[in-house]
Structures are given as structure tokens and as C-alpha cells.
Amino acid sequence: MSRVAILGAGAVGTRVARYLLASGSVGSVDRVLLRDVDPERLSGALAVLDEAAADGRVEVEHAPFPDQADADVIVVATPRGTQLRAVREALSCGIPVVLSGDGLAETVAVARLADEAGERGVPVVLGAGFAPGLSGVLAAHAHSWFDHVEEIHVAKVGAGGPACALVHHRALSRLSYDWRGGGWRRRPGGSGRELCWFPEPVGPMDCYRAALSDPVLLHHAFPEVERITARMAATRLDRLTAPLPMLSPTRVEGGVGAVRVEVRGRRGTTQDVRVLGVAERPAVAAAAVAATTVEWALAGRLRVRGMASLAEMVEPVSFLSDVGDRGLVAEIFEGEHAVV
């Protein structure tokens, strides 16, 4: 039996705890320690985890980071600006880390700890959420169908909790990083409009460049791919207000979101395109992915004993099957192209 520490009792962290405590599979979790700096969030999480809390399987602590964490895995689901310290503290304790953050700057900062994670032999999974996370696993799966992959394009819609919404709001006003022809191209966030068709019920949405961490993590996983981009759906109002502070408070949790991964390359002698996607509420999807990653870490199924993205850490087909058991259904777009 295992013990998991979850830092951050927000929309994602609480759900990760619920998934782990409900799991009856191999590597299931005996106890969960929830930490947060907001007592209201902790009491809300306890209410959600009612049954497990009554059994004494949930502990809550009103504190930010563990000094001496007594856990087999640490899940970092804290807001931006706190994840780097959380990962550093967890690494110093020599405990595997599952990070569900999606901010570009913080992901890059955490990635600088890769040498330390490698030296310690501690698995640190970067971007174990919806996007990055499931997007990378979909890309890895589609990648396996090609002889040579030339392009990977990720698009996403929706935000998990308020912290995620704030990251997305800021991302539209920051520089995006696209990998193209052997170098990083910096482009303004909010530019490069592209109509992307997501799985139902989301459907078609205008997507724009933004400061997203997907290209960085995908380039790490697939260094041979010549072009990697990431876009997020936004409205005109989102783009207009992106440079300003958030004018209105966000809802506790957003509606249904989606990720879409387009992979282009060569199969035999023909050029081909594969488009995969998933539609789900982002916090639910991120929690399912993070919880499944925790179970893989506890079962010793992670491929890398060091720092890597989820796409490098897991075997895509088995992972998609496991998250499918939690209701995340990966879909493929099948259609025809016709010039009119």
C-alpha cells in the first residue's frame, strides 16, 4: 500500500485524490495527504472526499511544501509561481514527482532541474495534465504510425480551475515558441489564427499562438520532428484583454474543453496526416492523467528515472487504455479533403 502527497487542493488536486482513493487496481493508494495554503479549499476538498476522509485515508495539512514528506509520490498541482519550489523540495527528499502545471516559463524553469533528477535517479514527470500531458501521449501514439514524422501541431480549448485560467489569460499576451527547421521561432501570443476542429461537443474553434509548454516538451520527446506548434482557443475579447489583468474572476471550473493533436509525416512513400483528440472538462482530464501517472510511478512502469515529459515516460497504448477506464476517450478524425 502506498501514500501519495498532493500539493494543491484545487480543481485538479482534489480530483487526483478522489481518483486515487477510488482506485482498486494494482498499485492502489492507501493514504493521501492533501496540502494547500488556503483553508477553505482544504475544507472543500474534505467535503468532496467525504467517504475516504471518514475512513481516515485522507489527511489535510495547511502548509505549502513538505520539509520531510512521508510519501511514495508527490503530485504538484499548485498554482503558477509555486511549482518550481515544490519540485525542488520533492527532489531534495528523493521522491518521484508528477507535475500537472502548464505554464511555459515555469515548465522551462523546472526542466533546468533535469540534471539533478537524473543524478538522483528520481522520476519527475513534466506536464502530466490535459495539455501538456495527454496531448503528448496522443502525439506519441500517432507518431508510432509513421515512418517519419515532420510536423506536430497541438491545439487546446478550455481551462481547469481559476489558476489554469489565469495561466491561459497571460499566455495569450506572451511570446509563443514554435520549433521550426532546427530552431525556436518566437511569435506574439494571440497571432496566427487557425480554425481547429475539436471532438464533439466542442467542435470548431479559432485558435491562436500562446506561451504554451507543449512545443518544448514535445521537442524534448521528438527531437527529430521539424515543426512543432501549439495553439489555444480564444475569443476576440480574450485577445483584446490578454495584456490586462483578469477583469472578472473566473468560475471555479470551466466547461468542456478539448485537445487536438495533428501529426504529419510519411508512411512508406506517401504523405499522411493523423488527427487525434479528446474532449472532456480540463480539470477532470488533467486529474485522470495525473492519477494514472501516479499509479504508473507506484507500479514502477515509468520509462525514465529522471526528468522527462509524459510522452517519454509512458507506453502510449497502455496509458490511453488506462485513462480510457477513467472515461477519457481518445478519438480520431476521419474525413476527406476537397478543394471548393
Partner: protein
Amino acid sequence: MRMIRRAIAALWTTAAVAVALRAVGGVPVERQSGGWRPLEGPDLT
């Protein structure tokens, strides 16, 4: 006066080009038909 005439002419030209593009249409757009289906069976091998 000459400058105002030029500005008005430029505006008229811009409007005429915009109307022409709107009427004729731009670059052909690739239309997609099809839909999403769950990954299953041979897709997951």
C-alpha cells in the same frame, strides 16, 4: 486640397478592392468532411 483628394481616392480604391474580394471570394478553402470516432481495435496497437 490635393492631399484630401488623394486620401479620398485611396479610400475609394480600398473599398472597391474589398468589395471585389468579398464578391469573388479569396483563396479556395480546403473543406473538410468527416467526423470523430473513438480509437479502438487496430488503432490501439
